[in-house]
Structure formats: structure tokens, C-alpha cells
């Protein structure tokens, strides 16, 4: 047992006693709120609790850590079993689902009461992921997006000092890299088991992915097709190998040997690159914001990350909200960044020089001003997997682009049938919202 786990166990035991007998003198007269955190964040957040409890002597926070793989099922089960926590972390793509379940609290009244905490303090694309039908349901905690990691030295050998920021220029650079590295090596890694790159390119080309209020697929429309064709051209020209992430046993090794020279991935890989690439290559890699079809301004990426939500069933919403306010404060977000490397969602935190001293952080800071949410429907995660499956079929020549996109659209339209029915019903009854 690690010391931290030991402390957790002691705290948990204490909390159990507190609940059972209202004893545990230390907590007498304090309100206990339950916070569920996931993965590493759930572990590290414990280190912020003492500060919070000093500021709020009347509140005691009990943290329960959930592994990411079990978090979704655990939250749904908790909701069905009426045992949701008071406040939790929630992946921001899960917010549509939990708001449809009416499990989480609409935050407009709480935000109105809290000076200095509103949408203007956060990256707009990130804030937007928390807003369903005009109503905010979560406050961004940490954020996550994807940029291009590339081998600076290889690109220089190919005649480029920076990564071009338009699709055409980017593809030209990839062709130049391919000429330099040769037949058996590739310019870019587009794993066939990831939906993110083709979806990002579709978004960049202006596709909403879903249309008519998230009730119909838009994958057959020209905008998505433009992005998809660009994605496919990289694979068809031999600039990207047709392999899945599972077939590459160690991406960092392949990046080091120059088998792969660009990779669209997220902030967690900054640390991984530092740890896993040999020292001799530490100056040879860099990051750049996503290139877009018409230049930097169109270089959108995904608005990922986790938000903080308060549960409707909570008996201590005011205390839970106080905890959300605390975690959303710029200084606390910076401290959390130092502890975890998770990027702060609060724009003010990005004025800190420690954060902006790192050029890779600046890349992410810039990209975060150009992020968009994926469609805010509970079905999105399943749709994303269908997109990946159909794209993989085309990459592996098991299907043509035309037939893959019509199969995809038909599948997704069928998945969204319930949404169409709900929308029509709420229109017929004059009920508010199309949720």
C-alpha cells in the first residue's frame, strides 16, 4: 500500500464512521460532501482538499476514486440506484447523456449567484461542450485537445522549418518528408482504430457531423466528404501506413526511428515523449496546432476534457457548488496542472509564465482557442465508433467511400430515431426544449 493509499483508507474509514455514528469528533458539525474523481485526477485531487477545507471549515470532502474504464457504468448504476455523489468529475462528452437522464443540475442559477465565474473565464469551445440547449450543466475542470506532434529534424531535412498550416501545404510537407525517409517509412500516423483524425478533418471542412438538431447524420453531405477525402488522400498516397494502433507495438520507438514522423495526439504525450524518446532526440520533436483547409484560422480541433457537475439528487448542493467554484479558480487550476500536467480550462491560468514558458504548452494554448464540441447527443460515443469502423473499411479497401458513407448515414439515422420521436413529441405537446 502506498502512503497515499494508506491515507485514503484512513479517510474512507473515518468517513464511514462519520456516516454511521455521526461520531469521528474531527468532523462534528461539518457537512460531508462526496466527490467522485476518475483515474489519476481522482487520486491527485486529494492533495487540493486540505486547502479547500481550510477555506471552508464547515465542509468536509470525501473523495472516491473510480477507474476510467468503470466510471461510466458506475455513474449510471449510481443514478438508477439513487446513490449519485454530490459532485463529480465528468468527461465532457458524457454531459449530454447525464443531462438527458436529468441526473445533473442545471447550473444557470448557481452561476448567477457566483461573481467571477461565468462562460467568459473559459475557452469558448470548451465551455460550449457543457451547454445543452442553452443551459449550462458543467464547469470545465481540465481540458484536452489534439495537435500535431512532429519530428522537427526530419521536417528540416525535407526543407521545412515549421509545419505548414494549410491542408495543401501540410500535404506537400508530408510528400517532401516521404521523399526524404523513403518507401518503408511514413510521414504521418493515422491509426485506423481512432475516430479522432477523420472527425477533426470533417469538422475543419465545416461539417456539423449531425444535423437537424442532432437527429440526422450529415456524413453524406459535401462538407464531411471534403474532410474525409483529404484524410483518405494521405493514406492512398502512401503518406500514412494503413495500420491500427494495436499493430504498432511501441509508437514512441517508431517515432524515434523515423518510421512515423507526425502524429495527431493529445497533451498526455508531451510527458510521454520526454520520458520515452532517447535524450539525443529531445530537441528533435515539436508540436504545432492542427492545420486547416484554408490556413490556421480553420485549423479546428476537438474540445475534450473533464467538467465538474453537481447532482440533482444531492442534499448539499450549496456545499458541492462551493467545491466546484474552488476547483475552477485559476490558482487552483494552476496548482492542479503542476500536480498532474492536466491543462487548465480557465483562460486566466494560461497567463502564468510557468505554463507559457514551454513552447509545447503554447501550442496547446493556441489550439484551445480553436476547438469545437462534437455533437452533443448521448449517442455520440457510439456514432464515433461507427465512423471509425467505416473509415477503417475504406482504408483497408473493404469498402468504397460512397458505400461506406451511406452505410454510416443509414446506421446513424437509425440510432437517432428515438431523438426524432422525442423532438416531434415535445413539439406536438408544446413542451420546452428538444432534448
Amino acid at each position: 500500500m502506498t502512503p497515499r493509499a494508506g491515507i485514503t483508507a484512513v479517510l474512507a474509514t473515518c468517513a464511514l464512521f462519520a456516516l454511521a455514528s455521526a461520531g469521528c469528533a474531527r468532523h462534528a458539525g461539518r457537512t460531508t460532501i462526496r466527490f467522485w474523481g476518475m483515474g489519476r485526477e481522482g487520486e491527485v485531487v486529494q492533495e487540493l482538499i486540505p486547502d479547500f477545507e481550510r477555506e471552508h471549515p464547515d465542509i468536509h470532502v470525501v473523495v472516491q476514486q473510480l477507474p476510467w474504464t468503470a466510471a461510466h457504468e458506475k455513474l449510471i448504476t449510481a443514478y438508477v440506484g439513487k446513490s449519485t455523489p454530490d459532485v463529480s468529475q465528468l468527461g465532457n462528452t458524457w454531459i449530454p447523456e447525464f443531462s438527458a437522464l436529468e441526473a445533473i443540475e442545471p447550473l444557470r442559477p448557481w452561476l448567477a449567484k457566483s461573481a467571477g465565474l461565468d462562460s467568459s473565464g473559459f475557452f469558448p469551445g470548451i465551455w460550449d461542450t457543457n451547454v445543452i440547449d442553452g443551459e449550462p450543466y458543467g464547469v470545465p475542470w481540465y481540458v484536452d485537445t489534439r495537435v500535431v506532434f512532429y519530428r522537427k529534424d526530419v521536417l528540416e531535412r525535407a526543407g521545412y522549418s515549421t509545419l505548414p498550416q494549410s491542408w495543401e501545404g501540410w500535404r506537400e510537407a508530408m510528400r517532401a518528408v516521404k521523399r526524404v525517409v523513403g518507401k518503408e517509412r511514413y510521414a504521418i500516423f493515422l491509426p485506423t482504430n481512432e475516430w479522432n483524425p477523420p472527425v477533426i478533418m470533417g469538422l475543419q471542412a465545416g461539417s456539423p457531423l449531425l444535423k437537424e438538431d442532432g437527429t440526422r447524420a450529415a456524413f453524406r453531405d459535401s462538407a464531411f466528404r471534403r474532410g474525409f477525402d483529404f484524410y483518405m488522400s494521405l493514406s492512398r498516397e502512401g503518406l500514412a501506413p494503413s495500420v491500427s494502433g494495436n499493430e504498432i507495438s511501441n509508437v514512441y520507438q517508431e517515432f524515434a526511428r523515423g518510421y512515423l514522423n507526425m502524429w495527431i495526439t493529445g497533451p498526455w504525450n508531451i510527458g510521454e515523449m520526454r520520458n520515452r524518446l532517447p535524450d539525443s532526440l529531445q530537441d528533435a520533436w515539436a508540436t504545432a496546432p492542427m492545420p486547416g483547409p484554408t490556413g490556421p484560422a480553420s485549423g479546428l480541433s476537438l474540445a475534450g476534457g473533464s467538467s465538474l457537475v453537481v447532482y440533482r439528487a444531492s442534499a448539499h448542493k450549496a456545499q458541492a457548488w462551493a467545491f466546484v467554484q474552488f476547483l475552477a479558480r485559476p490558482d487552483v487550476q494552476l496548482k492542479f496542472w503542476r500536480l498532474t500536467g492536466d491543462l487548465p480550462g480557465r483562460v486566466e491560468a494560461w497567463r502564468d509564465t510557468a505554463l507559457t514558458a514551454d513552447p509545447n504548452m503554447r501550442t496547446f494554448g493556441e489550439q484551445l482557442t480553436r476547438v469545437v464540441a462534437t455533437p452533443k447527443v448521448p449517442e455520440w460515443e457510439e456514432i464515433a465508433i461507427r465512423v471509425q469502423e467505416q473509415v477503417e473499411r475504406v482504408v483497408r479497401r473493404a469498402s468504397t467511400p460512397d458505400s461506406a458513407m451511406s452505410v454510416l448515414s443509414a446506421d446513424v439515422d437509425r440510432m437517432l430515431e428515438k431523438r426524432r420521436w422525442l423532438r416531434d413529441r415535445s413539439r406536438a405537446t408544446g413542451g420546452g426544449g428538444s432534448r
Binding site: 457504468e73 449510471i76 443514478y79 438508477v80 447523456e97 438527458a100 437522464l101 436529468e102 441526473a103 482504430n193 495500420v243 491500427s244 494495436n246 499493430e247 507495438s249 448521448p378 449517442e379 460515443e381 457510439e382 469502423e389 477503417e392 473499411r393 483497408r396 473493404a398 437509425r414 428515438k418 420521436w421 422525442l422
Partner: protein
Amino acid sequence: MKSLTSEGRQQSAAWTFLAPALVLIGVFFFVPVLAGLVMSFTDFDIYSIGRPDTIRFMGMDNYRHVLADGEFWRALRNTLYFVVVGGPLSVATSLAAALLVNAKVARMKGFFRTVFFTPVVTTMVAVAIVFRYLLHPHYGLVNNALGFFHVAPIDWLGDPHWSMPAIVLLAVWKNFGYNMLIFIAGLQSIPEDLYEAAQLDGAGWRAQFVHVTLPSLGPTFLFVGIMTMIGQFQIFAEPYVMTQGGPLRSTVSVVMLMYEQGFRWWRMGYATAIAFILFAIMMTVTVIQMKLQGDRGQS
């Protein structure tokens, strides 16, 4: 009269003793199965958990959609592959192992029985980790061994053509020990004099196997065949931990599809419909198998 009342008393005593088990089976088996059946006629989904008024009665729609869904047929094809290839292979392996372990000349029978049975009681996740190393395309033991025979490296888990054979091999290796034990029990119940009589009549080991061993194992075969078939139809853990259904969905089984639809996407109505379709298929195959083997047994 007296005997009747005592019979009645006996009967009520029997019911009293049975009651706890019956209540448990009723509450934890029949009620959920019935609820599942009802659910399979509705569109119970993620929206319905929060707002039960959005549950719609769908009639047979879920069943129709399942049968029209290419995903389901792909999963069924994969599952039948497990049943048709994996089932007989598993039974044959079990029988071969049982014959070896049970042979008169065999030494250390207990040791080998334990060794062959160990995979059955080993957790699937641990097995999967080891197998992923064994099957690794570059430095896996399996490809190294094949290299001796000048077989080019096979990407066992990454190539859609090889993923199924890889999973079948894993499943056979993991499970043959259980049937082996049953076969050993069956073999030991064959009276020794049958073999002696056969030997006196001049039967060699092959004739003894075909005319004594196999017929005597008839009931064991029926049991092992049906249980293996049912087990193969319900295959889930092996592909779930090895490939998560990939590559290109080539290892998705029906139960895995049901799990995804039910617990990942929370489409409970649809998932329960898949469950009942799978039940119908398994029931049909079991009845056919019992008829075939029963007829043969009687003739």
C-alpha cells in the same frame, strides 16, 4: 386414509424443503427472465431511465431490427465459427487428453490431470496477457516456432483472417480440461471385461476404440456435446479481453454484441431481443442434437 395423510405430510415437508431454493430461483431467475422478455418488446434505452414515459411498446420491432442488422449476422457468423470449428476441436482435444491420461501405460496421472485442468481455473485476463505475448507478430513464441518451418510471421490478432483461429485456439486450450475430466470419468466406468472380451475376439486397439470405447461413451458424448455447444454459443470473455471484437469486428460474438448494446449503449430493449434470439437458436440446436444422438443411442 392413514397412508394418504402421511403422504400428504411428506409432500408438504418436501415443499417446505424445496421452498427456499424455489423462491431464490423464482426471484433471481424466472422474474428477471420474464422482465427481460417484456423489455425485449419495448425500446427501453438511455432516455427511458430518467423518463419512463418515453418507453414505447415496439411489438416485434426489436426482433425485426436485430434480424435486419448486418452487425448481428456478422456476430452470428463469428459465433457459429466458434461453435462449428471450436466445438468439435475442443471435444476431440478433451477426448484425446482423457485417453492419454487414462492410458494404462501413463505415469504421473494425477500430475497431468492437474496440468491439463489448470487453464480452466486460471483467470481469463491473466491468460490473455500471456497469449498476447505468445501471439505477438514480431517476438511471439508462436511465430518463432512457425519460423522453424519457414512459415512467414502471422499477425494473429491484427489480421481479420487470423484473429478467429487465434481465439478458437485460445478457447480450446483454456477449456478442454473440463471436458477431459468428464471423459475420464466416462472412460473409467467402462467395464474392463469388455476390453478383455474384445481382445479375445482379436480386436486391435483401433477396433477396441471404435467398438468398445466410443459406444460406451455415448451418454458422455451427448452431455459434453451439448454443454460445449452451449458454452461456445455464449463465448464472450475470450474475444472481449483479447481483441475487443476487432480487427474489423472480426471477433465480435453474439453475446459481446448484446453486452455492447445493453451495457455500453444502454439499449436494453434491443439487447434483450438479441438475448432471446440467441436463446431460440441454442434451444433449436440442442433439440436437434439430442434427437440425433438419442436416435443413434437407441438403434
